[in-house]
Symmetry: C2
Subunit: 357 residues, 2 copies
């Protein structure tokens, strides 16, 4: 009998279980299935801090009224290629999937379609949405920020102004897509919290304490006064991450017109989605030729000492996904335990593990 880390679950079972929980929590229409599938997709890709680990928190938000369970976003503006929604604090994972699908549907008509969402709830793992576009030969960018939260300081400062401001880019090639998922800070709030709980340190001086001194101690983020996450580039060249942070703030909070200036207090997100159809520019075949050449060349690059091979962003995640779809998802410990109280309360049957094949 399998125990601990060797307990695996079929992805379809995880999706069904999570969908049942979100439906029982009041989510209408296709929201339960869409949310569940996107969270499991994050686990499949190995983004374990942004997969089903978020489900208990989302369910808690649905219970407290922090997340709106039903209905549609309000359309603030729709100019065909430029769309603005008010998300009404609907589940951000569902809103983002809808925004991507809308942009994908319109991409062939306009070439570039941009959808921005204000007052979305948390959108989860950005990388989990990329293949909705790349599977159709489209390039996609997703960016997100939370105007109610701050953990990253402007470069040269020691008080937080930004969230890590993730952005993800999906690039189709002649083979697997390139799936980039980065952020304007070296690490994330989720990772800082996890390392703190586990009594671990950052691998480098990825944060500042409240006095502005670099530190590898994640507990500094939770001190009073709190430290800050360093922007990408760190103390050495953090002006780069600072620039990225400002770019994402403008794309998300600026374009939606809802951000820190409103001083929101509730956990949420402002979101930017842009889908580009290469066929409308230099041509779909030419695009794949360039990106395919690039992917092959990167993989063939001789590695530095200590690295076995150069990989593309997303390569490890896609390999993880194929393996997990074949042998089951190796969930990060504690997740099903956190979901169990909701299952009991809602009368949903708990999930039985599948032992390793």
């Amino acid at each position: 009998m399998a125990t601990g880390h060797s307990v695996r679950y079929p992805a379809a079972d995880l999706s069904r279980y999570a969908a049942q929980l979100f439906a029982a929590a009041g989510c209408d229409g296709d929201k339960p299935n869409t949310i569940a599938a996107a969270l499991v997709e994050a686990d499949l890709l190995g983004h374990t801090t942004h997969g089903l680990q978020l489900a208990p928190t989302y369910l808690g938000e649905l219970e407290s009224g922090g997340m709106t369970p039903h209905g549609e976003p309000d359309v603030v503006a729709d100019r065909g290629a430029a769309v603005t929604w008010d998300g009404r604090r609907l589940p951000g994972v569902w809103l983002t999937a809808r925004a991507v699908d809308l942009a994908v549907d319109r991409a062939a008509t306009y070439g570039v379609v941009t959808v921005v969402i204000r007052q979305s709830h948390h959108i989860g793992c950005l990388a989990a949405f990329l293949q909705r576009a790349t599977d159709r030969g489209l390039m996609i960018t997703i960016a997100s920020s939370d105007p109610a939260v701050a953990s990253v300081a402007p470069f040269g400062g020691r008080k937080a102004v930004f969230t890590p401001n993730p952005f993800a880019v999906g690039i189709p090639t002649d083979g697997d897509p390139i799936l980039i998922d980065i952020s304007a800070s070296i690490t994330t709030n989720g990772m800082a919290g996890r390392l703190r709980r586990e009594g671990k340190r950052f691998p480098g001086p990825w944060a500042l304490d409240a006095t502005g001194q670099p530190t590898d101690d994640p507990t500094e983020l939770f001190a009073d006064p709190p430290g800050t996450l360093l922007p990408t580039g760190g103390a050495d060249h953090g002006h780069k991450g600072y620039g990225l942070a400002l770019m994402v703030e403008a794309l998300t909070q600026g374009l939606t017109g809802f951000g820190r200036a409103e001083a929101p207090r509730r956990w949420g997100a402002s979101v930017f989605v842009q889908v580009i159809d290469p066929a409308v520019f230099g041509g779909a075949d030419a695009f794949r030729r360039e990106t395919g050449w690039l992917a092959a060349t990167c993989r063939a690059t001789p590695p530095v000492p200590g690295v076995d091979a150069v990989r593309l962003p997303g390569e490890r995640g896609l390999a993880n996904k194929r393996r997990a779809l074949a042998v089951g998802v190796d969930l990060y410990p504690g997740i099903l335990e956190a979901l169990a109280p909701f299952a009991k309360k809602y009368g949903v049957q708990e999930l039985a593990p599948q032992s390793e094949g």
Copy 2:
């Protein structure tokens, strides 16, 4: 009498002088004035490696036939909001200014306008184009890569695949715009060359030698076999810069359909320009409210020890520009000396310095 670094030149005189040289070298129409103004704009902003220092090289390219002096780009595709040009190796500085102006003109109609250019010549300083959009309340992104050159390795590799792949973002606010000008590598080819000529080192381990060991020695880039520039994030978290490099390659070479797969040998650029009108999304006033709040908050952030004040990207450049417009441009040494042979050859009167006021 002023000497050395205290020799200053009125910006208008520098522009006029450079425009005369480009006209004498065969550039037609508005090209001489546009190229000269954009190069001087880079010097005004303090981007001294990408200002008039490039003029002698551009003039040399015009003489050798590497840069096309006259005519228009070929329109490969024009879908209103999505435009693709073949630049026919015309001056990239002029092509980019034209692309920005076209996107600015159409932004109110489409919300987002994207222009990509293949077979452009070198486009100079990306930041020099941003205010063409931000002065009208528009957000702008410019990205560029040179498919004929490689100096940056994929993260984990030790052979160059990318150029530094700069991208710049202009964000209007309720005051000065935010002018972001960053790249996918920690430093640039231009800076490596300058430090090498001056016998200096990088401030940190910003490069790898050919065996893959981090180094601060810019001469490693010019060794045989050559070292590589590290992506943004360095040896610590260079996967971020690697992601940015791939994103810029896809936006520039992928969308234009002209890139490394064609193995071009001549110095040039593939270019991406995108202009966004906030008025078509959540509203121009709302955008300025958010970005204005952000700018004020960043400036008011308490600084880390050793930093006098937190600045916004572009703040120092705009201050430099105001000062230089008032008292003259303090040209980096050697530039006028490099232009003198062209002036003699073309019968253009050389520029007399203005002593400091």
